[in-house]
Every structure is written in C-alpha cells, then in structure tokens.
Amino acid sequence: MRALSYFGPNKIKVVRKPDPRIEHSNDAILRVTRSAICGSDLHLLHGLVPDTRVGCTFGHEFTGTVEEIGPSVKNLRRGDRVVVPFNISCGTCFYCSRGLSANCENTNPNSDVASGVFGYSHTTGGYDGGQAEYVRVPFADVGPMKIPDDMEEEEVLFLSDILPTGYQAAEMGEIKGGETVVVFGCGPVGLFAMKSAWLLGAGRVIAVDHVDYRLEFAGRYAGVETVNFRRVPDIVTWLKDQFEGRGPDVAIDAVGMEAEGSKLHRVLGMGFMQAGVPVAINWAIQTVRKGGNVSIIGVYGPPWNLVDIGTAMNKGITVRMNQCNVRRYMPHLLKHIREGRIDAKGIITHRFPLSAAPKAYQTFSDKKDGCVKCVLTPAA
C-alpha cells in the first residue's frame, strides 16, 4: 500500500509499505477514505515527540471502509463505513469503564501518560496511522462508529478527534450559562471549542491568535470576538480589561506545545529544555478571573514545562485537562451535525490526494493560502 512515512524532522514522503494485517482477534483492517492532518501531527513532523521512529505513518483522524475483520468482531461487517476515534481503547479496563477512554491501560505498553493512539509515535503505543491506503484498527468492537447511510465521510470525519476535543475543552470549563470565555488558538480545535462554548450556554466568547486570516475565519465561523495578541501591548491586561479588570470566567488553551508569544519559552521549548512552549497555559492562568476555570486541551509532552503554577494556586483557579475521551462524545456530536447546529465540514479549506501529503503538511504548517484544515483523500 501507499502510506505517508516519516524520515526525520520535516522529512516525510509517500512510500510503499506492506499492507497491515489482522494481529488480534478484535482487529479490523480499514481502507481509508478520508484522513485529516491534525495540528498535533505537526509536533511529530517537527521532531518534538519522543520515540518517533523512521518509517512511522502519521494520521489519527480518519474514516474508512471495513475490508477485513478479526474472528471476534461482532459489531462490524465488511463494507461498513466507519469513523474511528484517535484513542485506541479496550472498553473495559479500569479507566475505560469509568469513561476515561483516553487513559486506557491496555493499549499502550510504552508510556503511562496516554492510551494507544493511531500514528502518534511509539510513546503512544507504536501504531501506524491513517494517512495511508489501509490501517489496522484494534478493538474494532469498541472505537469505530458506523457512518449513517445518508451522511458523507467529510461530514463526520472530525468526530474522530477535533470536534469532541473542542467540545470537551468547553465542557471542562464548567460553563453553566452566561459565562465569559476566552479561547487561545484559532486552529481547528479552537474553532470547535468556541462553537461548543456557545452550545453550552456561554455569554461572551473571545478568540486569541496572531494569524489574521484565522482570526477572521473564527469570527465568521464561530461568531466570536477576536484579538490579535501581537496588536495589543499586553494580551493578559487587554483581556482582563474586557471583563471589568477581572478576566473571563473560563480560559481555554487550544494551542499546545508550539505556541508563539514568548521568545524565552520558544528557545527553551524548541531546544528541548522544556517539553514544548507553555505560553498559552500561562496566559490562560494569568487571564482567567480568580476562582475561574482553565481548560487545557493543547498537547504538551513530558517530562516538564515552566508553568506559572504559583499564580494558579494563589488565584484559586481550577485547572482541568485530559486528552479527549472521544468515544463518549461521538453519538451526541453526530446529532448536532445531523441537526445542523455544527457544520463540521465547514472548516475544511484544502483537499489533497495522498500522494501530495508532503505538500499538504507544508501548506498547513506554514499557514499558507488561508489554510485552516487539510484533508487527504487516499483513493484519489
């Protein structure tokens, strides 16, 4: 099969690889129909995630058609169209049975920090991802959700990661109705966090970024107020001033480890002296009102970051975070898509065939050509 493969920082190619095989009785093999590039794939591309091996195929947001199933699979048949959560979860372990599928303890032998994840280095289990023609899906009776016959792949593709992730980010903000919310980051997850904040009853939402076209997109797509942090003298003070000097009730970090905004943190983070650049977390902590909620959904790596924990403690902030427990959100958010409350497909700005995946990565990484979200079509 053809698959995107990693050959070192900023070096990826589409090459021929052996087709995946059934390796466990509850595996399925999917023919990938759509595969998206996630912002967190860029951390892999830039060589920031430990144990990213040469030959690794990225891709944890995909839909596919079932080609083959293992002997114990009951839920799927050959030909079924499915969307697959990025977490690989057994469904019954200590964590899965409590709803924490992102923390499954049966699928990642290499680290205790997360469950297995498709195409996200050996730190998350060493599974190849979906930016390929075929992919092996473990626990086929747990993760994959069938796509309704009257829906297209692209309508539901983002149920695999970014839509539930954005929703969980807003949910962790404990919005009860009328709260003020600041979302750091106008990438795809940030956009869905803004949309979700409205669904949960937020009273006012402000989006923060430094890329003008993305701010403009956020204003149009999510109906939020926007601010470019490079155009104000101090973003924390500016944001506090919008809320009578106190700050918002909820601050969401939808940026993660490659944040801009502090030269010191960039040098330390990109030079591996801390695990990523925690600027968005620090701004969230400093901006949110005393007693408010900070929700972190941006991705950071172990072992440490220079986070302003003293300010968080003294302000009495509640900080909530986790990788998204995707499977729990899929049916609920599918309903929102079906009923027209969320136009998930509406954030796709670019489509590429699999053979052009390196160009797609470059477009997305360099934020060229108004790119918000790239989707690969392996069959094209």
Binding site: E23, T52, R53, S72, T92, P109, G116, G125, M172, F272
Partner: protein, 138 residues
C-alpha cells in the same frame, strides 16, 4: 426535499446557543462515571496478542499490554538506545532525553543505509554500462 434536507431545514431556526445547557445533555459530565463498559459491544475478556520481536514496554509494566502496535520494531543502534531508555523509569528526564537522542540516531542510520545503497548501485550500474558499451562495440 430529502429527509436529511428536511431535518436540517427544520433545525435551522432552533437556537444553537445553550442547547447543551443542561448537565444531562453533556456526554462527558461527570468526566468519571460509574463503572460500565465504554460501549455495549466492548469485549468482556481482553485477549492478549502474541509477543513480537523488537517490541518493548516501559519499566513499570511487568509484561506487555494485551494489545500493542507492531510498527517499526527496534533495530540497530537506535534500537539499543531505545531499549536502554525503556529500562529507565519514565518519570526520569534520562528516559525522555535518551528517546530523543535515539530518534536522531535513527534518522542518521536511515541516511547511512540509503547512502550505502547508492554507493552499491553506482559501481554496479557503471560496470553494467561498461559491459554494454563493450558488447555493442564488438
């Protein structure tokens, strides 16, 4: 108008804001719920995969997890470094630093292997060319 279009049309006027205001409408609240299988079809017993060569696990685990990825098994010097990293507790910076070093070594290994391949192909190609020229001359 199809059923789908009608459904979308019917909901256009519904307020988007606050539609999940009730905590009961929120699928992730509480984040940790009472114990039950994640999905009704989740297998009751998790069967273990057969062990594979070149697949390792972190120091804190006594054995492999039931299911694991089999892509890019350990090999070469980077494989040795990764084995050493996984024999160190993941709470130590050494573990992560060694993995990052192994990643860079892995890239070098790949480049060297590629170069060796080219160096092997070029003389073979040149010899074939010389032979072909000689053949046609004769």
């Amino acid at each position: 108008m199809t059923d789908r279009q009608r459904q979308l049309h019917e909901h256009l006027d519904r307020p988007v804001s606050g539609s999940d205001l009730s905590r009961h409408e929120r699928p992730g609240v509480p984040m940790e719920h009472e114990t039950r299988p994640l999905t009704p079809t989740a297998p009751e017993q998790v069967e273990h995969m057969r062990p594979r060569r070149g697949i390792t696990h972190r120091k804190e685990l006594r054995s492999m997890t039931p299911v694991f990825g089999t892509a890019q098994p350990l090999h070469g010097i980077s494989g040795v470094l990764r084995r050493v990293a996984y024999s160190t507790h993941e709470t130590r910076a050494k573990h992560w630093m060694m993995l990052l070093v192994a990643d860079r070594v892995n890239v070098l290994e790949h480049r060297i292997a590629k170069l060796v391949k080219i160096l092997a192909i070029v003389p073979a190609g040149a010899a074939a060319l010389v032979l072909a020229v000689k053949f046609f001359k004769d």
